[in-house]
């Protein structure tokens, strides 16, 4: 394997490591649960992404075969990360956020965690 390839793979690993560290640091530093959610949902994506990219580059350049597992990991991560964040946000709001702390919806009904709507009027399941 050439020196250039080694430098490239190491660079991707270091970038991934830095973003992973920053995501965790944000989790410690930020002071409110909703703010804290921003750090792991974003900074960590690029952290894992960098490592996956390095792994793909390694198998192509060093082992001389194409590996697809990293693509799958990335796809599953992109699908599951926002869902986890939504769950955490909703659980936090149920526990610690009062409805009056939130802006009004501007529509006929309130936010799904605080307001109810009859089953017949419900366009989609928001519970």
């Amino acid at each position: 394997m050439g020196l250039v390839a080694e430098i490239f793979i190491s660079f991707m690993l270091v970038v991934g490591g830095i973003f992973g560290l920053l995501g965790s640091w944000g989790l410690v530093k930020l002071d409110d649960t909703m703010r804290r959610l921003h750090a792991p949902t974003k900074a960590t994506t690029l952290g894992v992404g960098g490592v996956l990219f390095a792994s793909m580059a390694y198998s192509v350049l060093e082992l001389e075969r194409v590996s697809f597992h990293e693509l799958l990991i990335a796809a599953f991560l992109l699908i599951t990360a926002p869902i986890t964040a939504n769950f955490v946000a909703k659980a936090h709001m149920h526990r610690d956020v009062k409805e009056r702390e939130l802006p009004p919806t501007g529509g006929k009904y309130g936010w799904a965690g605080y307001d109810e709507i009859g089953d017949s009027e419900q366009p989609i399941d928001t519970k």
Binding site: R35, A85, I124
Partner: protein
């Protein structure tokens, strides 16, 4: 008659095709044996799970979806840098977090889910809640001095494209 049989065997053709691709990626080698096994699984799984998929999402313009995915990937990279800079260089007192209300024009559950996921993954915003009648989305923004501009960008950059894809 033939149509009825086909619908029985392939209740969800897109899901079947998708599962074949995922299977081949999982085994990491493309051979005839793997392909056959993948096809068998991909016919069986949608058949068994059919009761969980009563609706079929209607994708009007699949090609637009590719453009959307590329834009979102680029925005995720930008989002990582933005959030990293806020975490590193801004004190908690200087960070102006806001709740933002995004009125929705999208009506299909799949499109709203896509939009909510995209908002969570992209610059400084996390989706928190949907209104009870699914007409508004509550978004938390980590740092902004102009909440209205963030709302307008979400609407023009993501919602407009999703509307083209799904409706």
């Amino acid at each position: 008659m033939l149509g009825a049989i086909l619908r029985r065997v392939f209740p969800h053709p897109q899901l079947t095709a998708f599962l074949v691709v995922v299977w081949l990626l999982l085994v990491n080698t493309i051979s005839v044996g793997n392909l056959v096994l993948g096809v068998v699984l991909s016919v069986l799984i949608p058949g068994i799970t059919q009761p969980f998929w009563p609706d079929r999402p209607h994708v009007a313009r699949p090609l637009r979806a590719i453009e959307y995915v590329l834009i979102v990937i680029w925005d995720i990279i930008a989002a990582n840098v933005t959030v990293a800079r806020i975490i590193l260089f801004k004190s908690n007192a200087d960070t102006h977090s806001h709740w933002i209300v995004v009125p929705l024009e999208l009506r299909s559950p799949e499109a709203i889910t896509m939009l909510a996921g995209t908002i969570t993954m992209t610059p400084g915003t996390v989706t928190a809640m949907l209104s009870a009648d699914a007409s508004h989305l509550l978004v938390h923004c980590l740092h902004t001095d102009d909440p209205d501009a963030v709302r307008d960008e979400i609407k023009s950059r993501y919602e407009r494209r999703l509307k083209e894809i799904f409706e």
